[in-house]
């Protein structure tokens, strides 16, 4: 009998344990349905409840949460910036870091579902319009009007369809040409220019690529008897041919996805097709670039892998790779402008920071926002080359330029300044401003590899997919 009582008690305890587990998940569900304002589970903050006004005069009671991603060093720098802000204002910052991969967007969605969105978060370029259309982003025009945020680069300022600013890129990133100086010296080829005005023409670029591509027998692609099936070193490598990695040649050839104001569809224009075909020809016709797809499956990685590894003479990747140049030992790396087609154009990106309008302390959150996107507070990232400044005066004010460029290679600085100072040489990645971008891109993804692997021509693939992509463009919305 006693044993049975014991068994009963034990089983009851087990069952109750399970039930209490469920209880908390029920509470979570209540938060989904009942509460859109979001009580942050990370900051249960009785203080937040007692502070009736978001802008408590002394600021003591306010807690803000920031969600960001990082690959290491950046984490320390962001945390340092948060601590500094706490000291300055007395506002408590709860920062939360995730790895910088695909999981980030999913995580934000989960937080949204459970009604616990942070006050601020990093966000992928291509997701700004999505969250904006979901009605979750707070416009930040007032920060510009009040002068809390100085003039930012147009190319990283994200506006909604009504022209209201909803986000600013934390950094500005440009596609650049990295090259192995030693290989150029060996082949007796002059270095590419750091000036947009004297960028290589496409034909010159192909020629250089051919001279620098070698097979196992040491023959270059410019010589007879070159065996294109046994290539040892490629003239040029693309990290991948995805999104802006692939789009810049379209703009360089006078085409593009859409016009800068988003009003005209250019993706099916002959210039666009030719621009991309030029790049594909490097891979499949001239055999001077390694195969690349609209996917990360074969992405090369950083410049340290591409050029440091000795497999590529030139490498086209984003400016964040400047931060990897110091990792390369024994090889001299140069930085230059991209080759031109009809024009010399690069494309930019740079993940934005946003404020969610579900924030309990919207004003305080916006103030913190202005602080976080101020390049002065990420100066170490700028100096390392991982970020380029998002603010206009960092490219014009000599003392500011001197400060953030002091450790960067001279040719890299020249290249960046050349792009910034030449009107029209930086195309803004349409993900920033084109609401239907994501679904257009998803449709494009279904087809484009067939053109990149040479199975079909770009023109043939575009004939198949562009009618639908144009239709998606015309919907004008994210969903």
């Amino acid at each position: 009998m006693k044993r049975k009582t014991l068994a009963l008690i034990l089983s009851l305890a087990l069952a109750l344990g399970a039930l209490s587990g469920c209880g908390s998940s029920d509470a979570g569900q209540a938060a989904v349905t009942g509460n859109s304002a979001g009580t942050d589970s990370e900051t249960p903050a009785p203080a937040a409840e007692t502070a009736q006004q978001p802008q408590a005069e002394d600021g003591e009671d306010i807690e803000l949460s920031l969600l960001f991603w990082s690959d290491g060093r950046q984490k320390e720098l962001v945390e340092q910036a948060c601590r500094n802000y706490e000291k300055m204002t007395g506002i408590k910052i709860n920062e939360e870091v995730l790895p910088s991969d695909e999981s980030f967007d999913t995580y934000i969605q989960t937080r949204k579902e459970s009604g616990t969105l942070p006050d601020l978060s990093y966000i992928n370029e291509a997701d700004v319009m999505k969250y904006n259309e979901m009605g979750l982003l707070a416009p930040i025009d007032d920060l510009f009007e009040s002068g809390a945020i100085p003039e930012k680069l147009d190319s990283v300022t994200v506006k909604d369809t009504n022209g209201k600013v909803v986000a600013v890129g934390l950094s500005n990133q440009l596609m650049l040409l990295y090259y192995n100086k030693d290989m150029f010296d060996e082949a007796g080829i002059p270095y590419p220019s750091t000036d947009v005005a004297s960028a290589w023409t496409w034909d010159e670029f192909i020629e250089v690529c051919q001279k620098l591509t070698t097979d196992v027998n040491g023959k270059t692609a410019a010589q007879d008897g070159f065996d294109s099936s046994k290539i040892q070193t490629y003239g040029v490598g693309f990290n991948c041919l995805m999104a802006f990695h692939q789009f810049w040649p379209m703009y360089a050839n006078g085409g593009g996805l859409v016009s800068a104001d988003g009003k005209e569809f250019l993706w099916d224009k002959p210039e666009t097709i030719e621009g991309l075909q030029n790049v594909v020809d490097l891979i499949n016709k001239y055999h001077v670039a390694s195969p690349a797809g609209y996917t990360f499956v074969s992405s090369i990685g950083g410049v340290d892998a591409a050029i440091g590894g000795g497999g590529y003479a030139m490498y086209i990747n984003g400016s964040w790779d400047l931060g990897n140049i110091p990792n390369i030992e024994g090889t001299n790396v140069g930085v230059a402008v991209l080759p031109k087609m009809k024009e010399a154009v690069t494309m930019n990106c740079g993940a934005p920071l946003v404020v969610y309008n579900t924030s309990k302390h919207l004003e305080a959150a916006k103030d913190f926002y202005a602080y976080m996107i101020d390049p002065a507070n990420s100066i170490e990232l700028l100096q390392s080359g991982a970020w380029l400044p998002n603010q206009a005066d960092y490219y014009t004010d000599q003392s500011l330029i001197g400060e953030w460029t002091k450790d960067l290679p001279k040719d890299a600085v020249e290249t960046i300044m050349s792009y910034v100072s030449h009107e029209g040489s930086i195309a803004q990645w349409p993900a920033y401003y084109l609401p239907p971008y994501n679904k257009m891109n998803a449709e494009y993804t279904k087809y484009i590899d067939q053109a990149l692997n040479g199975e079909k021509s770009v023109e043939e693939v575009y004939a198949e997919c562009m009618p639908e992509i144009k239709r998606l463009y015309e919907t004008g919305t994210v969903e």
Binding site: S11, S25, D105, S229, G311
Partner: protein
């Protein structure tokens, strides 16, 4: 009364002990399943608004030209077919070899099991490094080049990517091999002995004795392998994240994930897709069970064979 009461109490205790599992099943498995079934008849917009649209999601999947369901299902089933056959054969052969008596057998057993301890994500990254382009330092391609052969675009070619996926699958199949090994210990020695005395060669010993004994386990392994193959996800995401090259790794779970969590307003469609996959898996399992059942008609001799229905 006095007899009945203890029974009731015991039953109650039993239910209470089972309660955590039952509640877990109801809340974490059955409830989401039912909800997803309901969702599959709904259009769920970006803001979470839901409305019933009948069978429109299912219609879209099969009839709309923009739907990728069939392509995705095709690559998934192709992978499943290849993987089930290769994996079963591979594991069986390895298990048979490891079951022989030789020096260092235990060490080899451990070595074959080791890769299955590595998480799939790590495995995928590792294999990507091994298989990539020679200019990027891919081991296999550099080896091919060194031997005077042509390097291959393992990761970018839409056929060769399957080689990579299957190689990864075989590399991590240590768990299955161990199960086979354990089963092989069960093969009655006296029967093998008798077969040998009757003049059966190695093949016939395997065919008439070993195979008959391990058949139920073999069959079970194939079903489990089929189910996990249909659910392939991590490899694809770790390699390409968007189904590249040319959608050959756009497996069904990758698509469902994409529709459910990345695209806007397709969560209802994703639920419908999940249900169709569930049904497809069930049908295949049923077919396999039927085949397994017919297998078993002549199966009175084995110990395990009788236990299986």
């Amino acid at each position: 009364m006095k007899i009945k009461n203890p029974y009731k109490k015991e039953a109650l205790a039993g239910y209470l002990f089972a309660a955590p599992a039952i509640i877990g099943f109801l809340l974490l498995t059955l409830y989401p399943m039912i909800v997803s079934l309901v969702y599959s008849f709904m259009k769920i917009d970006a803001k979470g608004g839901k409305r019933f649209i009948g069978f429109a999601n299912y219609e879209y999947m099969f009839l709309n030209s923009g739907s990728e369901f069939m392509k995705s299902l095709q690559v998934t089933l192709l992978y499943t077919l290849l993987n089930v056959i290769l994996l079963t054969l591979f594991c069986l052969i390895i298990a048979l070899l490891l079951n022989r008596k030789f020096i260092g057998r235990n060490l080899l057993r451990a070595i074959f099991y080791l890769p299955s301890v590595v998480p799939m994500l790590t495995t995928a990254i590792l294999w990507k490094l091994i298989m990539q382009n020679q200019a990027q330092g891919g081991l296999i391609n550099q080896l091919l080049l060194y031997m005077g052969m042509n390097p291959q675009e393992w990761l970018m070619d839409k056929k060769l990517i399957f080689v990579v996926l299957l190689a990864m699958s075989l590399w991590t199949s240590g768990g299955n091999t161990v199960v086979f090994l354990a089963t092989l210990q069960d093969v009655p020695r006296e029967l093998l002995e008798a077969a040998r005395v009757d003049g059966a060669n190695a093949f016939w010993q395997f065919r008439a004795v070993t195979f008959q004994t391990i058949k139920p386990v073999l069959f079970f392994q194939m079903i489990m392998c089929m189910v996990t193959s249909i659910q392939i996800f991590t490899q694809s995401v770790a390699l390409s994240s968007n189904g590249g090259p040319d959608r050959m790794t756009y497996f069904i779970n990758v698509m469902i994930y994409q529709h459910s969590f990345k695209d806007l307003g397709l969560r209802g469609l994703a639920s419908a897709e999940a249900w169709i996959v569930f049904l497809v898996t069930m049908v295949i399992a049923l077919v396999m069970f039927t085949i397994g059942g017919t297998f078993k008609k002549d199966d009175g001799t084995t110990r395990k064979g009788r236990k299986k229905h």
